[in-house]
């Protein structure tokens, strides 16, 4: 079988290239995951499979060279505002670990209606029923955390979860308010910070959550797949419980999680990431300025107003009108932006677009604004 497989695809697979290098990147999935210079060096240095394991004594999180132990046991807890932390393949795998450890057969989890799809799939994998706290609907789609309380009373869930912010609208619900409700009812509370941790200041302790989940590739300048999980001390023996047979292996990590180069990029970027969250006010100000400029072009920003995050969704009826009368359909927008050195909206979509201003400076965003204007003028 090797014969067949080796021939045809060799040229294509041996020369894998990205289309969007060097462009102004506005894609919400990607703007927080662009590598730092230090991470690029770590990438090359630790690219070979299992090269992080040179000095492993049996537990990934205890390796001292490279300094994984210090990162996991000291730096991450301090950064996340939690008592114990570990590394995961990503936010979804962290959520699954928690649900798999704390969920009981026939149990349930209460989540916000803006939750990421992986929250639902992780619960499904565990067998937990998902109960949703509704959002306010168009156009703001906000979640009022007070609505968790009656649902907790009704369903006595195993867990509650809040997406902070959500990935569709970039809304920041009252995470601290939900912390008070969680404490009041004694229900373990997961804060899904995939778009918060590494972008903006956030502290599990200040929020009053039991768990905080972050994404390396989404928001911590790391290669994928990479994630972080912080928790209260009391949950360490539940979620990070050791194998009965192998006392130094955590069951939910199957011994080790990201045993490879994504972890090295996460660590290499960490000093910069810890630094950049201090600039969050400027990030928010830039997002608001950008949003106002696009609204001046006739787009309508959805989600909270004023907006408090770099994730933005816009209704773009003018772009949609254009897409309906030309051959390329929605792809015209992708092509027009790419020609202008810009990458961001999902190729093919024109009715509404999701953008993130996190990785672009004001000068670049000004070019984006002018490009949208030029595209509207060109087809208008």
């Amino acid at each position: 079988m090797a014969e067949q497989a080796a021939s045809r695809p060799s040229r294509q697979l041996s020369n894998l290239r990205r289309q969007h290098k060097g462009l102004i990147n506005l894609m919400p999935l990607q703007t927080g995951g662009l590598l730092t210079t230090a991470a690029r060096e770590a990438l090359v240095e630790f690219g070979d499979g299992y090269s992080v394991c040179d000095f492993c004594q049996g537990s990934l999180c205890n390796i001292t060279n490279p300094p994984i132990r210090e990162f996991v046991q000291e730096l991450l807890p301090s950064f996340l505002g939690c008592e114990a932390a570990t590394i995961t393949h990503g936010a979804r795998e962290a959520k699954f670990m928690i649900m798999h450890s704390l969920g009981r057969p026939g149990g349930s989890i209460i989540v916000d209606a803006n939750r990421h799809y992986t929250t639902v799939v992780a619960a499904e994998r565990v067998g937990l029923k998902v109960i949703e706290v509704p959002h306010s609907g168009y156009p703001e789609f906000t979640v009022d955390v007070k609505q968790y309380a009656p649902l907790i009373e009704e369903h006595a869930p195993d867990l509650i979860l809040l997406t902070y912010p959500d990935g569709n609208y970039g809304n920041l619900a009252d995470a601290g308010g939900l912390g008070q409700i969680a404490r009041e009812y004694g229900i373990p509370y997961i804060l899904n910070g995939a778009y918060a941790v590494g972008r903006m200041p956030v502290s599990m302790e200040e929020v009053g959550a039991d768990f905080i989940v972050g994404s390396g590739h989404k928001s911590m300048a790391a290669a994928g797949p990479a994630g972080v999980l912080g928790m209260k001390k009391k949950w360490e023996e539940v979620v990070l419980r050791r194998s009965g047979t192998y006392g130094n292996k955590e069951v939910e990590l199957l011994g080790c999680s990201i045993r490879g180069v994504p972890l090295m990029t996460l660590m290499a970027s960490f000093p910069s990431v810890a630094e950049r969250v201090r600039d969050w006010n400027e990030q928010v100000s830039r997002a608001q300025w950008f949003s106002a400029a696009l609204e001046d072009l006739g787009f309508k920003q959805l989600g909270e107003r004023p907006h408090r995050h770099d994730l933005l969704q816009f209704e773009t009826p003018a772009l949609y009108e254009i897409s309906r009368r030309i051959r390329e359909r929605g792809y015209f927008l992708y092509k027009e932006l790419k020609e202008r050195g810009i990458w961001g909206p999902q190729p093919g979509l024109a009715r509404s677009i999701k953008l993130s201003t996190f990785a672009a400076d004001r000068q670049q965003l000004q070019l984006v604004i002018e490009s949208f204007k030029a595209i509207l003028d060109k087809y208008g």
Copy 2:
């Protein structure tokens, strides 16, 4: 909290370096995971988090640019000799997926006594009881697959698993013989080929297994974490079942597994990997020659004789004697080899050592043999 975290470790984390670059690599965990040139290029190209998702329409394994769909749906099944395949974070995560999908509460799995620790931990995570088929003990530690039959009759397990080869001795049990037994009893059969797939020819169909598991970072010239999972068509709807809420998301993959650069290295290396398994006879011949030469120095090869894999374990009483009477203890061996440009045995161990000849040519192995001789002479 960001302030604290950013200061002290910045210099160390921003300059992560490996100790063992450029050395002759004999470390069993690493020799099959050294990147190809094409993989090194893919590493840099797709280093930024979530850059594989540029053209994702909602399912990682359906992305056509880069050609993930072709890789997963055509190349991998052909290479693995199976009907359906997917990508995973690694062999252990693939084993967990299978066990989690097929295991029933209170169920069990029968495995060989040479199984990797992650087989036990994955079963523990699912709640499956592990029943072991014993090995023959010192010095060959072979597994007779006929012994699965009475244990299957006694325990009616949900699954059986064979480690092919095992990571301790590099023994290759009669995988095809176990295929016949599995068919006879109608028990789903997992072949753990973490040290086979990508090193040697192996076909799930020829073996008669239901599942085949491979490791990208261990044996397919990929960055970690990366793995592959092949299966019979009939298991696709069980192990790769879709979410009830999100019809294009596989529940056991939480939607997507390795959504990042390890997958790109796995794909970039694939043509070379498919090619290199054809040289397996030379690999085995080189391992046997190397083993004989180390035995001439007084080391004793454990595991099957003649040996049929590049993974080798040796008892090294002479090295152990030295380690007992010098200050560095077992670390002297690591230091002495490193000074000679060789990296392989676990630092600190001297009583027995595990080596892999997979990545070294005969000239390099000759240097290794001479180095062991020189070290014995120096302290002897």
